[in-house]
């Protein structure tokens, strides 16, 4: 593991909750590692598991899917579907022996700026421990 390894985390953030939460963390000037690359989606259920897989196989050190808390979805029940898909994806990762710690699902609301910062800090630390994603170096991928 490299000592000065700075992980890159791809974040699929829902427009109504987590993206606004990230905004709030920024405007509140809460410090968190610059490891997250946010991608705004209209709902966490817009995230096809394939997006997560693509990011993972293209060398993202971790992938975060984040949206409204269950019950708070802007579209009523999008995030419940997200959770089911994610459960399936995680199982596939586990069955194939891929590092499922590199994918994560979190609920962060628009008012939870501090929680956003906490999740990113925490996840960056966990990912650092895992080291760089080995898919980065694979030529035959």
């Amino acid at each position: 593991m490299e000592d000065n390894f700075e992980p890159k985390i791809i974040g699929f953030l829902c427009n109504w909750c987590t993206y606004a939460g990230a905004d709030l963390a920024g405007t509140s000037r809460i410090q968190y590692p610059p490891s997250i690359v946010p991608i705004r989606v209209m709902c966490s259920s817009r995230v096809d598991p394939l997006f997560v897989l693509t990011a993972f196989l293209r060398g993202a050190d971790a992938v975060l899917v984040a949206g409204c808390h269950p019950g708070d979805c802007h579209y009523q029940d999008g995030n419940y579907y997200t959770r089911r898909r994610f459960a399936c994806l995680k199982k596939i990762f586990d069955s194939l022996g891929l590092e499922s710690d590199r994918i994560r699902l979190s609920w962060i609301s628009a008012s939870e700026g501090p929680r956003f910062a906490k999740v990113i800090t925490e996840y960056t630390e966990t990912t650092k421990k895992l080291g760089p994603n080995s898919t980065k170096k694979e030529i035959f991928l």
Partner: protein, 384 residues
């Protein structure tokens, strides 16, 4: 188990065909979808049979699975209700795929009578085309072993080593609840020693047909059920063993890359998959065609890039899309020109992810597709 006994005349296949002819005569159904031997005699194709004389070439249990039956039926019944009553004779895995497709509105089951048969397995297509005659004899031997069964252990050759690897470990080769297969009528040919086969109704439609054809529905002897359950148990153990053996070959990124390194990106496995029903596959869409700069960038950061890239993305991506509906029919493995163990890998992953939702694809039309429904209070272990 209740049903009707049918005396075997000449052969099991002929008896089934006679039953269909009778059904056509009595207008219980108007048309039959069944595999027919092609004129050249070296393959089988699905044919919608109206003319009864064509049934002479019909084989309800062909030695190979050429086109997966559900694929054939969905091209007939995709655009809504059939105006004629159609009887469909298929292997149980094909019926399960039909049920899955009907849940995605790809097959309208109204006016369709699904008939399943105990399946002795199918031979690998590659072996069959090398020598169709010899393969047919080999398959016949396997099929007939059910009739010659004296009850000793190795009497039954079903799913022996000449059948496809996925058939050897198939624990859902039969109909009714035992095989998790919701056909309307199941034809049991295992363990029937007295020269009979049994027709077992498995739905209202099935019962009605037997009534219309004035077959008496009576209590059947336990022979069939016992024999089937016995074989299911053996297969379950075999399946577990095969999956344990498979693990060290596929688990982990390095192993996966090695396993799929021979993939030539022909996407045959996707094209023949009965439950891959999307009109346009994501992997064939413009989304997968990236700019040259994208590829150059990837090559630059890794030092090189294989072409065409993303083989692993294709396979695991497909798993994320269809593994919950994977009925383990083995069509993908038959279609792979590089002999990758696609079906074994996909059904291994499928078994695991289906467990998460306690879902068995094809078991019942009532069980909703897991990703189409949800509960408010569930799967808290995946949220952090």
């Amino acid at each position: 188990m209740k049903g009707t006994k049918l005396k075997v005349t000449k052969s099991v296949e002929k008896t089934i065909v006679n039953f269909l002819e009778k059904g056509l005569d009595k207008k219980c159904f108007d048309i039959v979808l069944i595999p027919l031997k092609v004129p050249a005699g070296d393959s089988f194709a699905w044919v919608l049979v109206q003319d009864k004389s064509l049934l002479a070439d019909a084989n309800p249990l062909p030695p190979v699975m050429t086109v997966q039956g559900a694929k054939a039926l969905s091209s007939v019944a995709r655009k809504g209700k059939m105006s004629k009553r159609i009887a469909v004779v298929m292997r149980p895995c094909e019926i399960r795929a039909v049920i899955e497709l009907s849940k995605s509105n790809q097959i309208d089951l109204e006016n369709i009578l699904l008939i399943s048969i105990d399946c002795p397995g199918a031979l690998p297509l590659k072996n069959y085309i090398e020598n169709p005659k010899e393969s047919e004899n080999k398959f016949n031997e396997i099929l007939r072993s059910a009739q010659n069964d004296k009850g000793t252990q190795n009497d039954i050759q079903w799913g022996n080593e000449s059948t496809r690897p996925i058939c050897q470990v198939c624990d859902k080769f039969t109909g009714t609840d035992i095989g998790a297969c919701q056909s309307d009528l199941h034809i049991g040919i295992l363990g029937v020693k007295d020269g009979n086969i049994s027709l077992i109704p498995n739905s209202k439609k099935g019962e009605d047909i037997l009534n219309e054809m004035s077959f008496p529905v009576e209590k059947l002897s336990n022979n069939w059920e016992n024999k089937v359950k016995e074989l299911v148990k053996v297969r379950k153990e075999k399946r577990e063993k095969l999956q344990e053996e498979l693990k060290p070959q596929i688990v982990g990124l390095d192993n996966l890359l090695e396993t799929f390194s021979t993939c030539i990106n022909c996407q045959n496995c996707q094209n023949v998959c009965p439950v891959c029903y999307c009109r346009q596959c994501y992997f064939e869409s413009e989304k997968m065609k990236l700019t040259s700069d994208d590829y150059l960038m990837r090559a630059e950061s890794k030092g090189g890039l294989v072409f065409p890239p993303d083989a692993l993305l294709f396979h695991i991506g497909r798993m994320t899309h269809m593994s919950l509906s994977c009925i383990g029919c083995g069509a993908c493995e038959d279609a792979c020109p590089m002999s990758i163990k696609v079906a074994q890998i996909f059904s291994f992953v499928g078994d695991k992810s289906q467990e998460v939702f306690n879902y068995t694809p094809g078991k019942s039309i009532e069980d909703a597709l897991p990703l189409k429904v949800f509960e408010e209070d569930e799967f808290h272990t995946v949220e952090t």
